[in-house]
Amino acid sequence: MRFKYNLLFLVCFVTNFFFISSVNASPSLGTPAPQFKGIDSNGNEVSLSDFQGKIVILEWTNHDCPYVRRQYMTGNMQMVQVKAKDMGVVWITIISSAPGTQGHVNRRQANKLTASRKALPSHVVMDPSGVIGKLYGARTTPHMYILDTKGTLVYKGAIDDKPTSWGKIDAGTKNYVLDALSELMAGNRITHAATQPYGCSVKYGS
């Protein structure tokens, strides 16, 4: 029953966005972040509009990508999630790996990953068609976006300034997402609002 409902929903969803096939439609900073709806790892519908009035972080992920692995195995991504949660931020992890590609998981596996990594996303949104990823021009894992309380895109890019999959996160690492969050909370301009994302390519099917 639920499966049928989801399938129907997915079909509507895909046809709505049928004409967006390029990943290059990267939304501009300072403009309203594109609206999207998706199904999360608990089978619930998640709509960006549900979170009006809150800061939202979007995190593109693929648990088998070495860059993502480093972030989670060192506990760095979880540390950012804890701090974001303390600030009342909504954290949406998005998986855009197409079926049969690296990082593609079902909902149960997604929840298991969250538990085993002690991650703290508010939602894990399943995006196997890549529609949401392409809407945001997501190209790497990790690739991070921050939306302010009005739903305006205020940050897009890397998690930090050390594009590597090796070793610990050293003390000199600048975490762009944390920096942007604290500047946003303080009402200041974000110093590095657009950075080069690094990592594996998002495994879109086409």
Partner: protein, 264 residues
């Protein structure tokens, strides 16, 4: 906890990329001067490593040298990369084989012993980070060309960009970047195709079509501007590859575009 074992596992798959430091000469030069060495990578089919700007994803190959007092180790001279499409994403990198060329300025005669840690990301659909400690030892000698490596150096040196020597301008108009290069009629006639490789992320949309045209004096390339332009980037940096007809065959040359100011 799994971290170290996973990185080790990645390290054991080095046969995906056979890498070595090689030299164009058999020995160190008799006097001071420049000789060339290179990081040679041979890849399994369909796998690739990356150019100095990797494109929409990926990471460039890196070399961390151990200092050697008799020589000054130059920067990598990157040969023309392949354009590699991964779904809707575009990467710039090397399939099959590449040679990243490095000039050595020899300041004092005698044998040369080089050591470097090479790090690269090798991807097909999935990506595997690899690293390898490499060394190269050249005995004292006359710096004769190594016949085994000569053709490889010759082949890849031809693919390294020269300085762009024609007058050129670049405009930022709306969401377009327009590069104009002025040439004489004879040169213009021979040009068959061009392709621009951006050197910085967000300069252009890598996946968008580049529109190429010619008029009586110029070649004109229109590209879609990337996010860095929106963010106020003031210059263009990258490379242009030009294919020209030359005595019935196609001459393939690349030219470096150094920090060209973006005009409005």
């Amino acid at each position: 906890m799994n971290f170290s074992s996973n990185t080790l596992a990645a390290n054991n798959e080095t046969e995906l990329v056979k890498a070595a430091l090689i030299s164009e000469t058999i020995s160190a030069p008799k006097d001071r001067g420049i000789i060339w060495v290179g990081l040679h990578q041979k890849l399994q089919p369909n796998w690739h490593t990356y150019w100095r700007y990797a494109g929409d994803s990926g990471l460039p190959t890196q070399l961390k040298w151990k200092k050697f007092k008799n020589v000054e180790i130059g920067k990598i001279h990157w040969p023309l990369p392949d354009i590699i499409k991964v779904g809707p994403l575009v990467n710039y990198g090397y399939e099959n084989e590449t040679l990243l060329l490095i000039p050595l300025t020899v300041k004092k005669k005698g044998p040369i012993n080089l050591k470097a840690v090479a790090e690269w990301l090798v991807c097909r659909e999935i990506c595997i980070p690899q690293r390898k400690v490499l060394s190269l030892n050249l005995p004292a000698g006359n710096g004769e060309i190594n016949p085994v490596n000569a053709s490889l150096f010759k082949k890849f040196r031809r693919l390294v960009p020269e300085e762009l020597h024609w007058p050129s301008k670049v405009f930022s108009i709306g969401n377009q970047i327009k590069l104009i290069i002025t040439m004489n009629m004879d040169e213009l006639k021979r040009i068959e195709s061009v392709h621009v490789f951006p050197g910085i992320d967000g300069l252009i949309e890598n996946g968008e079509i580049q529109k190429f045209s010619k008029n009586k004096r110029n070649i004109i390339i229109n590209m879609k501007a990337g996010y860095a332009i929106e963010e106020g980037l003031k210059f263009f940096e990258g490379m242009i590859n030009i294919k020209r007809s030359h005595n019935g065959s196609l001459d393939n040359r690349s030219y470096r575009i150094n920090k060209l100011p973006l005009l409005k």
